[in-house]
């Protein structure tokens, strides 16, 4: 498959739209576990990215630069804990895209591997802690295994998003061990982690974007 810089920007714009649609839902999940602002925080960050997409990134064709700007902009707009996490993800991933205006299957795979590894390193959370890592780690494992078999990014990523969804759903039955919600103990049971949920939604948005790019 092929993905262009324009497709990458379409993906980022689709995330902006998706976050606005899901903002209330993400806040609702967060009210049960934390201070209820996850949707607002994501919205602040992605709206800032949107401004860049409409200005300095409008004609940018270097996919690496697009990702670096996305990460930096998101971080500067939100701080919080998702700021450093997603910024690290995008900036580490950017290395796979440096100087490229068209992306190959291998580069796309390398991007998401570096993205997840970067977030893991920054946040130091483990699977089972009820965080975005519960979505991202199964995604990483599934992507690597399936890509090794087929060398087909679209097929492997489709499988990875299924794993991501299962990972997200699994947070419902977990006790919070990281972040502010860790003080909840058993009261954290029964609610999906908002960070795991938004991470899944971003991955799913990437999948729908590349699928429609292939059709076009």
């Amino acid at each position: 498959m092929k993905m262009t810089a324009e497709d990458l920007k379409t993906f980022l714009k689709n995330v902006v739209v998706m976050i606005e649609e899901q903002k209330e839902y993400l806040c609702e999940l967060d009210r049960k576990l934390g201070d209820g602002d996850h949707g607002v925080t994501m919205s602040i960050g992605w709206q800032a990215v949107n401004e860049k997409l409409e200005a300095e990134l409008k004609d940018e064709q270097d996919c690496g630069k697009i990702c670096i700007t996305t990460g930096r902009t998101f971080l500067s707009a939100v701080g919080s804990s998702v700021g450093p996490l997603y910024a690290t993800g995008f900036m580490r991933g950017a290395k796979a895209f440096q100087g490229k205006s068209e992306l190959t299957d291998v580069e796309l795979k390398d991007f998401w591997v570096a993205f997840v590894e970067g977030i893991k390193e920054r946040g130091k959370a483990e699977v089972g802690d009820k965080t975005m890592i519960d979505t991202l780690q199964p995604t990483l494992e599934s992507l690597q295994t399936n890509f090794e078999k087929s060398n087909d990014f679209l097929a492997a990523f489709s499988e990875a998003v299924i794993a991501a969804e299962q990972g997200m759903e699994s947070t419902k039955e977990m006790l919070s061990k990281r972040g502010r919600s860790s003080r909840l103990g058993e009261r954290s049971l029964g609610t999906k982690d908002p960070g795991a949920t938004s991470a899944y939604l971003i991955l799913d948005t990437f999948l729908t974007t590349i699928k429609s790019a292939q059709v076009a």
């Binding site: 009210r31 934390g34 500067s76 701080g79 450093p84 502010r180």
Partner: protein
């Protein structure tokens, strides 16, 4: 919930604008970053810079504590969210007078990452030495065995005070860090929540409590506490809070302490003084001397109802620092 605001998305910007205009002799907003505030008075060469910060919504914390004897710089985040590294870094560059800068912030995942990244950048880009002290005074946020996981709440005031005084007296960075760390280690806080706050952007209450309920150990951002129960008279609530503090950090007869009874936003001074009255009774019964006391809104959670009690055990050094003069827009001590 009703709020006197213009537009929820710019509340932080408009708040800072008003604050800076209200106290031009005390604070200055940096051109490089609108979320970085520094003291308007030039600090002397060789003084360790004191930088604090965190999310908005805790006013007068943190920007109310810029001034002599307290903080030299503040990084302001979105509501209840850590500031990103940029304002922290910009303020660091301005307040460094060659002796380095101490970062004091609450132990929250976001703050740890953002202040950590800023400290690395300060060293890499500008060769500024940064020491960090994480405030962990909230007894209810983790058991004693996992004390390092505890969050920082109202007690950050005392840590800032100790560090600010030490820096003022010309201590070097290692000693300012040592003193701030000691203040944190000698201090415990327990809080109670009565009514929720609401974020300007969502307008929804951050948690739910029945009309007749209270919650012991409720977090500073509406994070659920450790125990929900029927609302009790102030004396009984204070008995519980002080009991939990002393069980966690025993204080001997004859020892000196500083006490902070902090309101969370909508709890009245009347209620806070009623609470302090009981704290004083308990401590004097035990022969513990209150060296200095603070009652009021020092660190709030928007319009949350509730209060916390902080007890800081004083040795000679900390007692001297607690007595040190301070001149900030929101806090003056002579």
């Amino acid at each position: 919930m009703k709020k006197l605001i213009n537009n929820p998305t710019v509340v932080v910007e408009e708040m800072i604008e008003g604050y800076v205009k209200a106290y031009p002799k005390h604070v200055r907003q940096l051109e490089e970053n609108a979320r970085a505030l520094v003291t308007a008075k030039e600090t002397c060469e060789g003084k360790v810079g004191v930088l604090i910060g965190g999310g908005s919504g805790h006013e007068p914390a943190f920007m109310g504590y810029i001034g002599s004897g307290m903080a030299d710089g503040v990084a302001v985040g979105n509501i209840f969210a850590s500031p990103p590294p940029d304002p922290i870094l910009e303020a660091t560059k301005v307040i460094d007078k060659g002796e380095g800068v101490i970062y004091i912030y609450g132990n929250y995942a976001g703050d740890v990452m953002n202040f950590g990244m800023a400290a690395e950048l300060a060293d890499l880009e500008s060769g500024i030495r940064v020491g960090s002290v994480l405030v962990t005074d909230d007894v209810a946020s983790a058991p004693k065995e996992e004390k390092e996981k505890r969050r920082g709440i109202a007690g950050e005031f005392f840590v800032t005070k100790a560090a600010g005084a030490a820096a003022d007296k010309g201590y070097n960075l290692d000693d300012v860090v040592r003193v701030a760390q000691k203040a944190n280690d000698y201090m415990r806080t327990m809080g109670v929540g009565l009514t929720p706050c609401s974020l300007p952007q969502t307008g929804k209450p951050s948690f739910e409590l029945e009309e007749n309920e209270m919650e012991i150990g409720l977090g500073h951002h509406g994070e659920p506490g450790i125990e929900k129960g029927e609302l009790q008279p102030a004396d009984q609530v204070v008995d519980r809070l002080v009991h939990d503090i002393l069980a966690d950090m025993p204080i001997e007869k004859g020892e000196k302490v500083a006490v902070l009874v902090n309101g969370l936003g909508s709890t009245t001074r009347m209620e806070l003084y009623i609470m302090f009255r009981r704290v004083e009774q308990i401590l004097s019964e035990k022969g513990i001397e209150i060296h200095r006391s603070y009652v009021g809104d020092y660190s709030t959670s928007l319009e949350m109802g509730g209060a916390s009690v902080t007890i800081l055990k004083l040795d000679e050094e900390l007692a001297e620092f607690v007595d040190h003069a301070a001149d900030c827009p929101m806090y003056v001590q002579k």
